[in-house]
Symmetry: C2
DNA sequence: AGTCAATGGATCGTTGGTAGACCATTGGAG
DNA sequence: CTCCAATGGTCTACCAACGATCCATTGACT
């Protein structure tokens, strides 16, 4: 008998070449708001080491992002590679096309995200946070609430990532970042409404509040409701 | 400010070379019980394609596993690479040494597993399962309950993987398999008691029962309790 | 004004992995 | 008994990625 587990365990050991994956990773940093417009990326030598990629490959990736308008490099001491103040607008690929390409991938990603993010909210609430972590959460929440429409997705992602961070699990954080990237591509195909944002902000506040209060069950439930909102939105648009 | 998100997003794009990762993947298939003793692996050409590695690399990996006593290859039509009836005993690395090596990694993995597996249990219960899926779950449960002490970990893993499978999310299944591998290494350092197994079997039954009954909250709760058992066990032994 | 440390930019030899073709073996089908 | 399809086993040419080294630029500090 052939079970789906076969597919899980015999899936590709690597997707794409180092160059492509490096580009993806840098885009992740930018699009999830980990580095913000004006920020400097780590120096090439450092970054290459951290990404475990040769400097040549990293530079090729940076070059690609430069051409695409995401970053710019400056030479000399106090130089570096900087995220552009004006980021390129995401191409609004027709939702249907994306939906077709993703196919089962949509449910796949939504189910995984649900597990990761509700799990993260709960775990974050269980944990005793340092005051630095609490401040970080509050700051991300405030930034998101104050974000302009065009920046909203970035700050929103950053907040969700922050919640994963404060669980203290690096793996959980990475996984959350990855699945979020997959979903953001879809979300970019959907118009963002001011009304949705307000609702979203309220939910964010409720989630963070529950986490800071150390109430796992409430945090979990608040996150669950929040996620189900976007899930419904996505499913509705991508049919 | 440097946040942990930096580490998450600037983590290595690839860990190890294709050879090492291929070995890991094949070991995963064997140790998580996806392929069982006596089973034949897919033909080299097929498997290489699925893993997205060259046949040469795959063969090197298989060779390594042959030397380690996990598999054996036979030529000719109706030949292939077969999992040995007698698997090598896991080396009982002293718990302390493993704990030291893992360090934070233990909590990292436990938190991630919690999110993934409780999420999986819930998602599985929400979903309308096909009768084939239900049978698969029941079979894995029965196999585990009937497993000998030396095989227990494999069947246990297989059951947990089966629960992830029936969520329908391939990504969730892969992630579960990966984190399980990390934890199994630790579990191998801990003596397995008959008493623990009985308790474990009861909990497994409760989880599967809740899933088949379509009761997400109960499934989730049952899984949570089950996991907290092994988590406590691990934390206790690895101090 | 000069220095220099830190940064991006460029080049080259080495190597691990790949793709593809071909060989060797086996056992069921005709 | 012969054939042959499917499998593991081997070889070779090629290339992407790496590691290492050196160059070019910049601007804060002395």
């Amino acid at each position: 008998m052939v079970t789906p587990a076969d597919d899980a365990v015999f899936r590709p050991v690597r997707t794409g070449n180092p160059f492509e994956e490096t580009v993806e990773r840098l885009l992740q940093a930018i699009k999830l708001g980990v580095v913000r417009p004006g920020d400097r990326l780590p120096a090439e030598r450092d970054l290459a080491t951290r990404l475990n990629v040769s400097r040549v490959t990293l530079r090729e990736a940076i070059h690609a992002l430069t051409e695409a308008g995401f970053v710019e490099s400056r030479r000399g001491r106090y130089g570096g590679t900087f995220v552009n103040a004006q980021l390129p607008k995401p191409r609004r690929t027709p939702a249907k096309r994306i939906a077709r390409e993703l196919g089962d991938g949509l449910d796949d990603a939504l189910i995984l995200r649900d597990a990761l993010e509700t799990g993260a909210a709960e775990a974050a609430a269980v944990r005793a946070l340092t005051s630095a972590e609490e401040d970080h959460l509050r700051k991300c929440l405030a930034d998101t609430a104050a974000a302009k429409l065009t920046d909203y997705r970035r700050f929103d992602s950053r907040l969700h990532l922050a919640i994963a961070e404060v669980t203290g699990s690096a793996s959980l954080t990475s996984a959350t970042a990855d699945v979020r990237m997959r979903l953001n591509e879809l979300l970019d195909a959907i118009p963002l409404l001011e009304r949705n944002i307000e609702h979203s902000n309220d939910q964010h506040a409720a989630i963070v509040d529950a986490i800071l209060a150390g109430d796992p069950e409430r945090a979990r439930q608040a996150m669950k409701e929040h996620l189900s909102g976007t899930a419904t939105l996505l499913r509705a648009f991508l049919v």
